[in-house]
């Protein structure tokens, strides 16, 4: 011992278990139920898109790290995988696989690495990827199709179900629940008429409705979210304030612009379940890098997301506003962080 080489380093000499890679890995695990759901509802195409998107994200990450002369770590790879899955989750089922590759590559290369890579990006790379695709391929990003089960119902006409579900195909087009609402508003249909065309809460909850690959099933997304909550990867501050403020906004103004609708007559549950709010609130807005750090800041951030989503859905040009709302709130994070510092111990002491 006397002649041994003793390690000298700074305290503490204990470290808690857990690592950044493990956090990212947990997110991947949490996204698996919804990925399986995508496969169940939209069949093999969904899997192809997810795999292509992940491959695009990871390879872009490796290339960018190479360009920036950084050694890839498990944290980099797993975080790129998360981005890949999330990009795939927010494109339509009809979207081509190469498009998903373009989207995730844009997210990783431009939104992440141009800002300094993992930890320094201002915007959620997956959302940046989705918004890029939304503007680059408008038609492809808005052509929806019914789920596998809805298609089956259509081909075997059963009048009892038709009234409830009515995934009515107007000519060749098919719309998401939020799309139907927006269309109804624009065509000044009555609230009752619009509501008749919408799927039931149960359908919205399990995910048997049109929409982006990973956003449809609140049930499966929540299963993953519970896992993340138990693993303490995410907290409830952002998701609850996001969904809560969106529901509140939906209740107050959701029915307002509609013919015959009024203030305080909206449907909060519909607003929470119909679009990508659950996916956004639990998996995108909670991205650590692009959300505030303190509980207070997280609540402000979540409320902002919910509010902007509600505004876009109710008065905006798009039927859905989750991705834009998070994107806009990402920009506000430095400001929110600045005004929501943790309370210093002993700050209230007066002599």
């Amino acid at each position: 011992m006397q002649n041994r080489f003793l390690v000298v380093c700074s305290s503490p000499h204990f470290r808690a278990k857990g690592s950044t890679a493990r956090i990212m890995f947990d997110v991947i695990i949490a996204l698996l139920p919804a990925a399986i759901g995508a496969w169940v509802f939209f069949r093999g195409r969904a899997l192809v898109v997810i795999i292509a998107s992940v491959a695009g994200a990871v390879s872009t990450e490796l290339i960018m790290l190479r360009v920036r002369k950084r050694k890839p770590t498990a944290a980099d790879i797993s975080s790129a995988t998360v981005t890949g899955i999330l990009v795939a989750f927010c494109v339509t089922s009809t979207f081509p696989w190469w498009g998903a590759v373009v989207g995730s590559a844009f997210g990783i290369a431009i939104a992440k690495h141009c800002f300094g890579g993992l930890g320094f990006n201002i915007f959620n790379p997956a959302l940046a990827g989705r918004i890029f695709l939304m503007h680059a391929y408008v038609a492809r990003m808005t052509s929806w199709e019914p789920t596998y089960f809805e298609t089956k119902e259509l081909s075997s006409p059963q009048p009892t179900h038709a009234a409830e579900a009515s995934p009515k195909v107007d000519g060749e087009t098919y719309a998401t629940p939020l799309g139907k609402v927006k269309e109804g508003i624009l065509q000044k249909r009555s609230t009752e008429e619009i509501e008749r065309g919408l799927p039931s809460y149960w359908r919205l909850f399990v995910g048997n409705r049109g929409g982006c690959l990973g956003e449809t099933s609140a049930l499966l997304l929540l299963a993953g979210a519970v896992y993340l909550l138990l693993r303490r990867v995410i907290g409830l501050h952002i998701p609850l304030s996001f969904l809560g403020s969106l529901g509140l906004f939906g209740w107050i103004f959701g029915a307002a612009p509609m013919v015959g609708g009024g203030v305080f007559r909206g449907d909060p549950l519909f607003h929470v379940l119909a679009g990508g709010a659950v996916l956004g609130a639990f998996f995108m807005a909670t991205d650590m890098v692009t959300s505030p750090m303190t509980p207070k800041g997280k609540v402000v951030f979540g409320c902002g997301c919910g509010l902007i989503t509600g505004l876009i859905r109710t008065w905006g040009g798009f039927p859905e506003g989750v991705s834009y709302s998070i994107f806009l709130m990402n920009m506000c994070v430095p400001l929110i962080d600045r005004f929501t510092m943790p309370r210093l111990f002993g700050a209230d002491f007066k002599k």
Binding site: M1, C9, S11, A75, G117, P342, F345, A347
Partner: protein, 446 residues
């Protein structure tokens, strides 16, 4: 009822099983001792002996170098063989007095017992504590007599006795509370008298029920003493966090507890005060926990101050071949040593030996802004942001984010999933800022 209290804090593996049932054993008399002149916060002591002098155990060898300083007494009887810089547990070399023991351990009679808490005046007690060279034995080693002299206009209302012992592995305070509760209580009564406080609160973490029981029994006949059970959470034993847990009052770090009417003393310090005042024994030995998976027989030893680590480790059965890290103090705040040639000082509460498998060497990754360090920071600091500022050399930003309020408890580093050296960033920023402040001071003095 268990008192919870402050926000933040972590739950490291406590690892106290190895030594909690080991009774305090007297260590063998060392062959040589080295007494650093700087064993406390404040000015170093000034030697009052010469090379070749013969000294007795307990004899004064260095007098306080100022008001905030402490006297140093010989811990063996023997001959002064050197007064020069030697390796110090704080790193680098610092002046120390080396004494070669004659093996007789002849006691000096310089310091007669003065009395007890009933017969003595506050001034007499403080004087005896000052003469005995007593410093805080919890680790920080702040001279105790300074803490017993509140500013003129302040009335001390509460004496807090710190028995939290929240650092993993360490059990020296626990053993003292179990084995010598009566003397601790007598020491506490002396301290109470010295500062004329109204009450004494003893805080012990709930994972030490035996200590709570023995202290409660010892204090049963004194109505002014209450023994409280605290939530098991690191850093429960930190002065300000302890006050918050026990009384609900949050004091800023810039404020001395003394100025707000609190005096906080470690249980070991209370015992040292008892021995100094009632028995006339200056501070020349203390209990040290020797633990960790690299030591063969973990134990609690009553050690002469100045004993070299190498000699002490042999009494713990020696170390295993793959021992790779020596820590003085606990694993959360302790300092690693590069040599066994350093002495036990008054502030040494533990020595840990870790084997290679417990020595984590992880590459630090980038901050992913998860905010865990800020959630668990007991001081309520924006640690993630301070860490980034310090990493990029923006020390003025670190300063504006209150980094000086950091007590370096280590919670931020402990929880960081990216294994960033957060506490080290804090330390670096604090050092830079203090250096800058000193330079500004020097410049303005010119």
């Amino acid at each position: 009822m268990v008192k919870t209290g402050f926000k933040g804090g972590v739950h490291p593996p406590y690892s106290k099983e190895g030594t909690r049932d080991r009774e305090i054993r007297k260590a063998a008399l060392p062959k040589i001792v080295r007494l650093p002149l700087q064993q406390h916060i404040g000015a170093p002591a000034n030697p009052v002996v010469k090379l070749g002098d013969h000294v007795k155990t307990g004899q004064l060898v260095a007098e306080p170098g100022g008001y905030v300083s402490a006297a140093i007494h010989s811990s063996v009887s023997g001959k002064i063989t050197a007064i020069r810089p030697f390796p110090h547990p704080l790193g680098s070399r610092m002046p120390a007095i080396e004494i070669e023991s004659d093996g007789w351990d002849t006691l000096s009679e310089d310091m007669p017992p003065v009395g007890d808490h009933l017969s003595l005046s506050p001034e007499q007690i403080v004087e005896a504590v000052h003469r005995a060279g007593i410093v805080g034995l919890g680790g920080a080693a702040f001279p105790t007599h300074v803490k017993l002299k509140p500013p003129q206009n302040v009335r001390i209302h509460t004496l807090v006795l710190n028995g939290a012992e929240c650092e993993p592995f360490l059990t020296c305070d626990f053993r003292l509370m179990v084995e010598r509760p009566n003397e601790i209580v007598q020491g506490a009564l002396l301290l109470k008298k010295a500062v004329s406080s109204e009450r004494i609160i003893v805080g012990v973490e709930a994972n030490k029920p035996e200590a709570i029981e023995s202290l409660s029994r010892a204090a049963a006949s004194y109505r002014e003493i209450s023994v409280e059970s605290l939530e098991v959470k690191y850093p429960q034993g930190s002065e300000l966090q302890l006050i918050k847990s026990l009384t609900g009052i949050e004091l800023p770090k810039s404020k001395l507890p003394l100025e707000a009417g609190f005096v906080v003393q470690n249980v070991g310090t209370a015992l040292a005060v008892f021995e100094a005042v009632v028995k006339g024994k200056p501070l020349y030995e203390r209990v040290v926990t020797i633990a960790g998976n690299g030591v063969k027989e973990p134990c609690n030893l009553l050690v002469r101050i100045g004993t070299l680590f190498g000699e002490l480790l042999e009494q713990a059965g020696g170390v295993l071949d793959d021992a790779a890290k020596l820590i003085v103090g606990g694993p959360m705040m302790g300092l690693t040593q590069h040599t066994l040639d350093v002495p036990v000082t008054k502030g040494t509460c533990g020595m840990l030996i870790f084997r290679e498998d417990q020595v984590e060497v992880a590459d630090a990754l980038v901050c992913i802004r998860c905010g865990r360090c800020e959630t668990y920071c007991p001081a309520g600091l924006p640690t993630a942001r301070i860490g980034l500022a310090a990493e990029f050399g923006k020390f003025n930003i670190a300063e504006s984010l209150d980094v000086m309020e950091c007590m370096e408890c280590g919670c931020c580093s402990y929880v960081c999933p990216s294994k960033r050296p957060m506490t080290h960033y804090m330390r670096a920023a604090k050092a830079e800022i203090m250096q800058k402040q000193q330079m500004e001071k020097a410049a303005s003095a010119k």
